[in-house]
Symmetry: C2
Subunit: 169 residues, 2 copies
């Protein structure tokens, strides 16, 4: 069950790995968490790593379910929690919506969300990061994490129109 490519090959990755090499990588991560290697954890991890954007627990549940593995929500949540406890994934919860997760090895970035169409654009800004450090230090804190979410209206004519026609609600 390891010679069938269950997921498309993302050629954008920095390194090309054989399926076996990838599996070793995944196992290593699981063991770093002090957990046993199971099929479910392998599958979750594969999907989280392969994706290049944001997932909900639901997304991951469905993606794993499409493979041969049966899985429960509890398992997804449990493992995602373990991953984010060790900062392998970033968990962002906002606005009463389901939590979004993403693999955190890639460059850190923040989000700019269009409040009309829901489009999410990522950005990074070193100056902002630096200022955050300074603020925390000036208040006697050691900064360990941050969430910066910008909200606005994107440039699409549809969203601009909606925005201008309902400026105060």
């Amino acid at each position: 069950m390891s010679d069938i490519p269950l997921l498309p090959n993302h050629q954008s990755g920095p390194k090309k790995l054989t399926p076996e090499q990838e599996n070793q990588q995944l196992k290593k991560i699981i063991r770093e968490l002090g957990l046993k290697v199971t099929q479910q954890r392998m599958d979750i991890l594969r999907i989280v790593k392969a994706g290049d954007r944001h997932f909900t627990a639901q997304d991951i549940f469905e993606a794993v379910s499409e493979t041969n593995t049966s899985i429960g929500f509890a398992t997804v949540y449990r493992f995602l929690k373990a991953l984010s406890a060790k900062a392998f994934v970033t968990e962002v919860r906002m606005g009463g919506m389901p939590a979004r997760y993403e693999w955190s090895s890639q460059e850190h970035h923040d989000h700019l969300t269009c409040t009309v169409c829901g489009k999410v654009v990522e950005f990074e800004n070193d100056e902002i990061e630096k200022l955050q450090e300074e603020v925390a230090k000036s208040l006697g804190f050691v900064l360990t994490d941050h969430i910066l979410e910008l909200f606005g209206v994107c440039s699409s004519s549809h969203c601009q129109k909606v925005y201008k026609s309902a400026p105060e609600s």
Copy 2:
């Protein structure tokens, strides 16, 4: 029921108002929302305005319940939603915790939270604000709102100790 000071007088406010003047102010706000003036809404509004920090819906429910007014959760949530729809209060939801609300007339500020003891420190930083505007503009967005939450460990010896003894979880 208007001559008993139900809440401590916050002398830091920009203007001193008689109870009657305050009531007129509150009524005006409720009418601006296109809603009828009710005792419950007056009470909620009074508490939200009087407080200078963050409230949960639960806090507000309890505070109103301490007055003579009986109130239900639904009413609290409904009215807070109406207030935040017109930007009279700011609603912040994060990390699966209950939403926090605050009156938004005051200076804008962001939050720095100690992940050990839960202490919240407010700050404002014009430079960061300016950079946010620039980022949004450069991506073609009109910025309408943002959430910046910093997380760290505060300077108390207890929190520092906890932090250093468990550096990787």
